[in-house]
């Protein structure tokens, strides 16, 4: 039975991840008054299959460690390296986690980093969005690697830049979808333009950190996986 549930959850993951934005678009088009509220429910539903599948597998502590450590390094990097806000290695580390450890680990690294750092720094309506956006960045990186698209590192760097902008776009969705009515492009564009400098910094720093970390870290994690016999199928 648990096996069947597990298979169901595997299927639910991409459906939930990609279905969430669709539902949101629908709410905007139909001009639902409670769009801001609905978006939270949609996000929670989108992330549930990942969490449920991970719980259901009852992983050993040593299999959690790579995810935990990468989250910790990302959080420390977020506080240590900040010269300017949004120059942070989180996105780059989440992508590396997805590529080195698999889509599910990538998702968990991203969402746990967001959750943990917001628990320390202060919750806001942005918490579930960050969890979702960083989770998506890690999950998609893992999936694309499995599809064989990341054989050349240039593809990874390009993905990093692209996903940084997607991250910024996702964080703005809540404001635009929930608080601009009737929905119109000029207003949405204004909100996005206001956040463009921040997004540019984010994309630039992701690129730099990927250039610095991608190769050495992939090798290091690969070595650790062999040395300690971390289970592959779980991640």
């Amino acid at each position: 039975m648990p096996d069947r549930l597990n298979r169901l959850l595997i299927w639910a993951e991409p459906v939930a991840l990609l279905g969430a934005p669709l539902l949101l678009v629908l709410a905007v088009i139909r001009q639902v008054e409670q769009t801001a509220l609905i978006s939270f429910l949609v996000l929670a539903l989108a992330m549930l299959p990942f969490f449920a599948r991970f719980e259901q597998r009852r992983p050993r502590p040593r299999d959690m460690v790579p995810i935990v450590v990468l989250s910790v390094i990302a959080m420390i990097g977020r506080t240590l390296l900040t010269v300017l806000p949004n120059i942070q290695p989180v996105t780059a580390i989440v992508i590396i986690s997805g590529i080195a450890l698999g889509p599910q680990a990538g998702f968990l690294t991203g969402s746990l980093t967001a959750l943990a750092s917001n628990l320390l720094l202060g919750q806001g309506p942005w918490t579930p969005w960050q969890m979702f956006a960083w989770g998506l960045a890690g999950w998609l990186a893992g999936r694309l690697r499995q599809a064989g698209l990341f054989r050349r590192p240039v593809a990874v760097y390009a993905y990093g830049v692209l996903i940084s902008f997607v991250y910024g776009a996702l964080l703005n969705v809540w404001v635009v979808a929930g608080f601009v009515r009737p929905f119109n492009w000029p207003a949405a564009l204004t909100v996005y333009l206001a956040s463009l400098p921040v997004d540019l910094l984010h994309a630039g720093s992701t690129l730099v950190f990927l250039l610095l970390f991608y190769h050495p870290w992939l090798k290091k994690i690969e070595r650790l996986k062999t040395k300690y016999g971390l289970s592959r199928d779980l991640l």
């Binding site: 719980e55 390094i73 919750q123 806001g124 970390f213 870290w217």
Partner: protein, 289 residues
């Protein structure tokens, strides 16, 4: 400004506090009816000030006002909806409806941001871990591993940086310095990783994650929690009904009676639900005078 450490509301079970916080946020986000919005904003300001203290709350208020103002401005500038055109700004027509909608949406955003600031105080890390651990024990274990590793890893980062400062010649230039820092972080990563896998094995040997997750603070369910939960649920039901009945339309024309009789009686319900912790504090203050 003295800050109250203990609040009456903190005596209640975290699940009750969660019920309150979720209800407040959900209700605030579900209606743009002006009276409801005003009640929500005012209660959030009073309660936030009470919970957080004016000194700090002032900053939060300022920080929350910026996006709220932006929404209040963006809506009338670009929305073409609304029947009553007031004036033209370049190509854009500014309508009365869009101005009011902008104000309402801005107020809602402000209220949500302020309630989240209160949430941070109401459901602290300990309570969050307790509630989260009930549903997702493995993920809660990972979160607590993260919180444990943060200070350890920070001190490791310092050790690495001291050692490298002593052993390596100084470099200048942004590029070189960045490379140095990146190498230090890579060292930190593999060191922490190897250490933590050892730790994880001893954790397994000691049976982490086999039983139910415990917490430092003991949270037990009392009769007062049942009473409070029932009160909250009843208020929530009545308030949802109120939100449902109070229709207020912004487009194409402002339309809605704010003082229709039977609905009028439901405004206090909203105020009581949102201000419940404040009422408890006031009651306590009167009782012990």
């Amino acid at each position: 400004m003295t800050q109250r450490i203990r609040h009456v509301f903190h005596l209640y079970h975290p699940a009750v506090i969660l019920l309150y916080a979720v209800s407040v946020l959900g209700l605030t986000m579900s209606t743009l009816q002006p009276v409801y919005l005003a009640i929500s904003v005012v209660t959030a300001v009073i309660y936030g000030r009470y919970l957080i203290g004016w000194q700090h709350f002032r900053k939060i208020l300022l920080f929350a006002a910026i996006p709220a103002l932006m929404i209040a401005l963006v809506n009338p500038l670009f929305s073409s909806g609304g029947a009553t055109i007031l004036f033209y700004l370049g190509r854009f027509s500014v309508t009365r409806e869009a101005i009011f909608y902008g104000l309402a949406a801005g107020a809602m955003l402000l209220a949500v941001l302020l309630w989240f600031a209160c949430w941070q105080k109401l459901i602290n890390q300990e309570k969050f871990m307790y509630l989260f651990g009930r549903v997702f024990p493995t993920l809660a274990l990972m979160l607590s591993m993260i919180f444990r590793l943060l200070p350890v890893t920070r001190s490791k980062a310092l050790q690495i940086s001291y050692a490298r400062k002593a052993a390596l010649p100084q470099v200048s230039g942004v590029r070189q310095r960045l490379k140095r820092q990146a190498a230090a972080i890579s060292i930190l990563m593999s060191w922490t990783m190897e250490d933590s896998i050892e730790t994880a094995d001893t954790m397994r040997a000691r049976g982490y994650g086999t039983g139910r997750r415990t917490s430092y603070q003991i949270f037990s369910w009392h009769t007062r929690d049942t009473v409070m939960a029932v009160c909250l649920l009843l208020l929530l039901l009545a308030d949802v009904r109120g939100v449902w009945l109070h229709v207020f339309q912004y487009y194409p024309r402002l339309d809605g009676d704010l003082t229709a009789w039977p609905q009028l009686a439901l405004y206090p319900v909203h105020a009581v639900l949102l201000g419940l912790p404040l009422i408890l504090e006031a009651w306590e203050a009167i009782r012990w005078k």
